[in-house]
């Protein structure tokens, strides 16, 4: 059974159709990249999969481990193992990162019928994952994303992913706004989390992320449809030719 199956997915924002029939299957352990120009529907796809209420599904189906994902509330999807790394992570003033993550960990554990994590165990988990993604301990004690630089916010997303251990991680433009050093360390974090049981959907505008995270499949999204799929070489091809060719074809 596939980890994620998207079948003829249509979705609209404020009445305007953005996704016009997406088909995509992701198996456990695979890394897929979706590339496309601005406005092609990349971020819409990530928000629809995570259950953002501002996006209306107008047709099609999404199965997560064979279950209807679209039936579930956003927090239920998260507890089932769907993680979205945000393009613009929000700040939550006054709420310590520790407190926030512990609430998230416990919500997921409760969903699985497990008891709340004890303080020592949580601390151990946190320390371990901070090392894994090279997260600065000082950041962790601060309020969620408050006053973080763009790079620190993105690293915090990867750190949260490492702690929550999702089955499917959707990373929405994780590379945007990062300098080359930040890009490298964020990518290392992602690579450290690659696992035969875990799938990734990388959403990106630029090919450069894929120099650091090697995808198994690359899909080109233009005007709400996947117009071409291939291996990682497709990304290089795009870097050469740009999206223009595909945009003409799609029109």
């Amino acid at each position: 059974m596939a980890m994620l199956e998207i079948k003829d997915l249509h979705a609209a924002v404020e009445g305007e159709e953005i996704l016009k029939g997406i088909n995509l299957t992701i198996n456990a352990g695979e890394v897929h990249a979706i590339m496309g120009p601005n406005g092609s529907g990349k971020s819409t796809l990530s928000k629809v999969l995570a259950g953002h209420e501002g996006y209306e599904v107008t047709g099609g189906q999404v199965l997560f481990e064979g279950r209807d994902l679209l039936e579930l509330a956003p927090e239920e999807r998260a507890r089932e193992g769907v993680f979205l790394g945000f393009q613009y992570p929000v700040e939550i003033p006054g709420v310590a990162n520790t407190y926030f993550l512990k609430a998230a960990v416990n919500a997921i554990r409760k969903h699985r019928g497990e008891s709340e994590i004890d303080a020592m165990e949580f601390l151990k988990l946190i320390r371990d994952r901070m090392k894994m993604v090279k997260m600065d301990e000082a950041l962790f004690k601060r309020p969620v994303n408050e006053g973080f630089s763009g790079g620190e916010k993105k690293r915090n997303e990867i750190f949260q992913m490492a702690v929550l251990e999702p089955k499917l991680a959707i990373l929405d433009e994780t590379d945007s706004g990062l300098d080359i050093d930040a890009l490298r360390s964020v990518s290392e974090g992602v690579n450290a989390l690659r696992d035969p049981e875990r799938s990734f959907l990388l959403i990106t505008h630029y090919q450069r992320l894929l120099n650091y995270i090697q995808p198994d499949f690359v899909h080109v999204l233009v005007k709400g449809q996947i117009v071409k799929s291939g291996g990682k070489e497709l990304a290089q091809e795009l870097e050469q030719s740009g999206y223009a060719l595909f945009e003409e074809n799609a029109a």
Binding site: A107, H111, L164
Partner: protein, 487 residues
Amino acid sequence: MSASTDTINELTRKGYEYGFVTDIEQESAPPGLNEDTVRFISAKKEEPEWMLEWRLEAYRQWLEMASPNWAHVNYPPIDFQSISYYAAPKNQPKSLDEVDPKLLETYEKLGIPMHEREMLAGVAPEGRSNVAVDAVFDSVSVGTTYKDKLAEKGIIFCSMSEAVREHPELVKKYIGSVVPRGDNFFAALNSAVFSDGSFVYIPKGTRCPMELSTYFRMNAGHTGQFERTLIIADEGAYVSYLEGCTAPMRDENQLHAAVVELVAHKDAEIKYSTVQNWYPGDENGKGGIFNFVTKRGLCEGANSKISWTQVETGSAITWKYPSCVLRGDNSVGEFYSVAVTRGRQQADTGTKMIHMGKNTRSTIISKGISAGHGQQSYRGLVRVLPAASGARNYSQCDSMLIGDQCGAHTFPYIDAQHPSAQIEHEATTSRISEDQLFYCMQRGIGAEEAVSLIVNGFCKDVFKTLPMEFAVEAQKLLEVTLEDSVG
């Protein structure tokens, strides 16, 4: 419009936990207010003649005054002749052991410890203080705990009625010294008909060994509560005092018009914390308490300090401005406030910091949260008088809106009459954004928990000033209050 807006709407419609009525035999004054009412109350309390005269003078002043209308709140005119000004349980206990079990049960239900066994049994861990409680039920104090223990240190903690009888010299000296009888309409009314409240005196150089607290409960219908509290910290003394308030759910509006006066002498410190949870009325604005309160502290001596912390979640209308008069040189005034308005609640609250002495400092941190159709105003005055060289003030007023039917307003007044004054004012208004909610939910955190998490983060600067036990209570109260604000 969207799911989270629905959630937010629901979150603002939570029921009120403390709305039960205690069925107990009570006696009360017939509705109406005239000089005889004042005499009746004074006689009930077996007051000396001077106290009665003081009340009558206040009553006469009140007759000449008009209800203030400058606050940003709306309510129908109050008929002062339809209110009963005195209600009390029939059997007045002589000691704690004689308190009516029904009353003890009431306080048990409210989570207020009316027993001293924890300390008597010696189980209170070293360093962690117990709380002494004065319980005020409608117009009378029904019991005060740890009185004897405190008396060993020369600390007086008793009901106001008792203080008038037992410590007339102190009451005479201080009552009305911070909030004069004719200060404002509601203060004058209170001065005429005040019923019970707490009296605290901490002698020179004494640090009060436990938290003192008063728990105000309004039970009787068609009755107003007019508490009067007076706290004096003599030179070098320290006290931390807490007050809590609840009332049954009733369809009528009930008036609560209190006066609180604090006096801190040289090197003394008073920390006054309030968790106000009067019945706020139902979601359509029916019923609820009108909470019109005058609270003021006088930093009389040099290096004295008064700190107000309030968590205001109840009442249909709140009108209160706990203030500090910084007369002593180097004295310090602080005001920390979290106020929540939801349903049809309205609040106009803030503070006044009056700098009179040299190098006086004040800090104001106000956090307002509005949900549902709640309306909230911060109103604050920072005044630096001509003699107050080197005065400093820092004010921060933040408002958070939940949903799109509520309102937040800020009215800061600044009056600096000395060129060296340094006054800073910061204000922000934010909305719990759908993005913040979605972010939390995407991490598996449910909507209600997410709202409570975000709001608690917003209030953190104030909660951390509350005594530990109260901080936990305040957080829980906020959760209960905002539960169902999202859905």
